[in-house]
């Protein structure tokens, strides 16, 4: 087969469907049985075929490989293979493609449908009285949309009981209220869908995979988005669990052949039984991974510190728009571990991080300090002192020194702009 020139440039619109060879793309990509789905798929095929200068026989359009991935509510479309490849393809083919920003009419229609689906789902969610603290994805097999925290009723109930026993019900109520407000805001945001939300959403879905790949361009990427009104892409990694992990058939080795420190991590994952060594290396190159769920084996010790955080302290400043005063300790601690640590002022020496984590701080602290001029985080070069595992006196704020708002900020998935704490996070919340 001929090598696809567009693929080499990173802009093949057919992705997996392409009849030309995509060198080193998806190992499991070939030979999948795909089901024909809506006509919009075929329409898109036809259009894009005209766009490309490659002549493809018309019989190609009969087999629509996208399957049910873009279909809205066909209940029987459980083909996770097709969904998976669809995700990957879109990420691959459209990420750097100018085509993506100026789509054809069919592409626009798809997006419109997709966005309409989201609006509809939001309306249903609001009116149905269903559980609000749930991850959400607009279509099955897509990564979850950011901005929704996933909390199970049991976790919430446990927090309630814990607060009851510590006589601190008010802070529980406050945090619930805050969580609810955030949910409501997010739902409204998705219902009204102004341009920036749309862009964020579409990138959530399309770049679900790409977020993993940018060689910890994640660091810089995060810098860029942090200051912007667009939702921080960081949690998408977590949310994008199904996508980021090599899904579908046993392809546990990540098929992201892009070489990023991150992509290497999942390959190590199958062998993670009980040993963490693969991950020791990861954080040093990819600080953001500390939160990313696809990087399993993130280290039990770290999880310990994160999970041991107890909700008891009234200070609950959430970590970003999710702001849910952190019951799911690991989850909350995740993002905290990344940006929170040194960047937010007052920290002098990074204690208690251990060697992997320490590397991660330096790039972050720099990038964060750069973006946050309002903060007194002048400690751009955080002297990383490895090894000490005690709760750092200057590096981490003990919980009781944090206000409720700050603790909540740290404990949620993302910082809320305007509420980002100036103090470093408590060590218990860190999840490296």
């Amino acid at each position: 087969m001929t090598i696809c020139q567009f693929f080499l440039q990173g802009r093949c619109r057919f992705g997996e469907r392409c009849w030309n060879e995509h060198p080193g793309a998806w190992g499991a990509g070939g030979g999948r049985q795909q089901q024909p789905s809506g006509s919009n798929r075929r329409g898109w095929n036809a259009t894009s075929q005209r766009y490309s200068s490659v002549i493809q026989p018309s019989s190609f359009s009969k087999s629509t490989p996208w399957g049910g991935s873009r279909e809205q509510e066909k209940p029987s479309f459980g083909s996770f293979d097709s969904g998976d490849s669809a995700n990957r393809n879109r990420g691959f083919g459209l990420s750097q493609n100018p085509f993506a920003t100026s789509p054809t009419s069919d592409e626009q229609k798809d997006e419109k449908k997709f966005l309409e689906g989201i609006v509809k789902d939001m309306e249903v969610w609001e009116s149905s009285g269903q559980w609000m603290f749930s991850a959400y994805s607009p279509m099955k097999k897509k990564p979850s949309i950011s901005g929704f925290t996933d909390i199970s009723p049991e976790e919430l109930r446990l927090e309630y009981h814990n607060f009851l026993t510590s006589n601190n019900l008010q802070s529980y109520l406050n945090s619930i209220q805050q969580l609810k407000n955030q949910w409501r805001n997010r739902v409204n945001e998705l219902k009204t869908l102004n341009t920036s939300t749309k862009i964020a959403l579409l990138s959530d879905i399309k770049d679900g995979i790409n977020q993993a790949t940018p060689t910890f361009g994640f660091g810089s990427r995060q810098t860029a988005t942090f200051g912007s009104p667009v939702i921080v892409s960081l949690p998408n990694i977590q949310a994008g669990f199904p996508v980021n992990n090599s899904m579908g058939d046993n392809a546990q080795n990540s098929s992201f052949t892009t070489s990023s420190g991150f992509a290497t991590a999942p390959t190590g994952s199958p062998s993670v039984f009980g040993n963490i060594p693969a991950f020791g290396a990861v954080p040093s190159t990819s600080p953001a991974i500390t939160t990313s769920t696809p990087a399993p084996g993130f280290g039990k010790p770290e999880i310990t510190s994160a999970a041991s955080f107890s909700f008891k302290t009234p200070a609950a400043s959430g970590f970003g728009s999710a702001g849910f005063s952190g019951f799911p300790a690991p989850m909350a601690a995740g993002p905290v571990g990344v940006p929170g640590a040194p960047a937010f002022g007052n920290s002098s020496s990074v204690a208690g991080f251990g060697s992997p984590g320490s590397h991660s701080h330096t790039p972050f602290s720099k990038s964060f300090s750069d973006t946050h001029d309002g903060h007194s985080s002048t400690s751009t070069s955080v002297p990383v002192s490895n090894g000490s595992t005690t709760t750092g006196n200057e590096l981490f704020t003990p919980k009781h020194q944090l206000t409720a708002e700050e603790l909540r900020q740290f404990q949620s998935k993302k910082f809320t702009l305007g509420k980002i704490p100036l103090k470093p996070p408590p060590v218990e919340l860190l999840n490296i």
């Binding site: 089901q35 209940p75 029987s76 479309f77 459980g78 083909s79 996770f80 293979d81 097709s82 969904g83 789902d121 309306e123 249903v124 009116s127 149905s128 009285g129 269903q130 559980w131 603290f133 749930s134 991850a135 994805s137 099955k140 097999k141 897509k142 979850s144 996933d150 909390i151 199970s152 009723p153 049991e154 976790e155 919430l156 446990l158 309630y160 529980y172 109520l173 619930i176 609810k180 977590q238 669990f241 199904p242 992990n245 090599s246 579908g248 058939d249 046993n250 546990q252 994952s269 993670v272 039984f273 009980g274 769920t293 696809p294 399993p296 039990k300 310990t304 041991s308 690991p330 989850m331």
Partner: protein, 368 residues
């Protein structure tokens, strides 16, 4: 202020749904009520395996206790014993020989309860509440599998305080099921992983969630040859996904269906959507039961893709369900599942476990 808008509250001071003062609908199905039911919400139910003569029911509750009843064929339930944890009990399971019960609790430990001696010892330790516990009996090993909110899946030889194996999960474990040689774990953030347990537990596949919302419960089903072949996954959005591991035709064989929703005035009007709290497969017929936050249970035939029966609405959510080993008894627990937050929690409200004869109602629709 109601957490969830206009839906009618459940535990609000005993206002009967059906308006009658003489009958309260805590048992509209007129099923057998288990005596001495727990004082707080029941999180998990489990019947004894076939190796034990008779039927014994174990229930773990948010009152930190695990209770055991003997269920006689007459329907009489005799409380037998009880053990305590220091935190709410989230999951229970039996060993294959029926001599031990394993309990998982919010106190981050799991215990092994020897029923003969009525002693319970700790066999597992996590860094966060233990959400699921299963006993694995493989030809070459036996162990306890615990899934926790600390994002790990640990395997324990009950004799050692160190786990035999630790597998990392992408997120907090929300539910799991195990039928040798397959285990399924559903995690937060819509994570879904299948494990194969032959030789030693290892990750078999990570699956993209067929559901759009939070995973709540999962149950494995078997094929005609009695081998585990797929699972049913329930979410908080009143939907269950039936998923086969290696189907001949994934797009056709895998499907989702809606359940535990109110009808509303008509199908296009907003309906109330309730979480699916538990799924259980009938051990003989292969049909499944789902229980939801709406206080109903439903029986379904997944092969015929039809609903077999839906119950009347109880006044409380149904938080757990279980079949006994031969499928004659269907047990379900009526207690508050926190689906509407703390505002609807009424500690005074009585919690029930009901037993229903399941031999007839769960027969599959089409018999070949």
């Amino acid at each position: 202020m109601s957490l969830f808008g206009t839906t009618s509250g459940f535990g609000t001071g005993g206002t009967s749904m059906f308006g009658s003062t003489t009958t309260d609908n805590h048992n509209p199905m007129k099923d057998i009520e288990v005596t001495s039911s727990p004082d707080d919400s029941i999180g998990c139910l489990s019947f004894s395996p076939p190796t034990l003569p008779g039927n014994f029911l174990i229930a773990g509750s948010w009152a930190n206790d695990v209770r055991c009843w003997e269920v006689q064929d007459s329907g009489q339930t005799i409380p037998k014993a009880q053990q305590m944890h220091t935190g709410p009990v989230l999951d229970v399971c039996w060993s294959d020989d029926g001599s031990k019960v394993f309990t998982a609790s919010c106190d981050k430990t799991a215990k092994m309860w020897d029923l003969n001696s009525n002693q319970a010892i700790q066999i597992a330790q996590h860094d966060a509440p233990v959400k699921t516990i299963h006993w694995i009996k493989a030809p070459n090993y036996s162990c306890v599998m615990t899934g926790s909110w600390d994002k790990t899946l640990k395997f324990w030889d009950t004799r050692s305080s160190n786990p035999m194996m630790v597998l990392q999960l992408p997120e907090r474990c929300y539910c799991a099921d195990m039928i040798y040689p397959m285990a399924v774990v559903a995690t937060a953030e819509r994570g879904l992983i299948v494990y194969q347990l032959e030789n030693q537990p290892s990750e078999f596949r990570r699956i993209e969630s067929p559901l759009k919302h939070q995973h709540r419960c999962v149950a494995i089903f078997k094929d005609k040859q009695n081998k585990p072949t797929g699972f049913a996954l329930g979410s908080i959005e009143g939907r269950v996904a039936i998923h086969y591991i290696n189907p001949p035709n994934p797009a056709k064989d895998n499907f989702t269906f809606k359940c535990h929703r109110s009808n509303g005035t008509n199908t296009s009007a907003p309906q109330d959507i309730y979480a699916v709290n538990g799924i259980a497969f009938h051990p003989v017929h292969g049909t499944l039961a789902t229980v939801g936050s709406d206080g109903r249970f439903s029986f379904w035939d997944k092969d015929a893709r039809t609903k077999l029966k839906t119950s009347e609405q109880l006044d409380q959510p149904i938080s757990a369900c279980c079949f006994n080993h031969n499928g004659n008894i269907f047990a379900y627990a009526s207690s508050y599942d926190w689906s509407k937050g703390h505002e609807f929690y009424n500690p005074q409200k009585k919690n029930y476990i009901f037993l229903r004869n399941a031999a007839e109602e769960l027969k599959p629709r089409n018999k070949k």
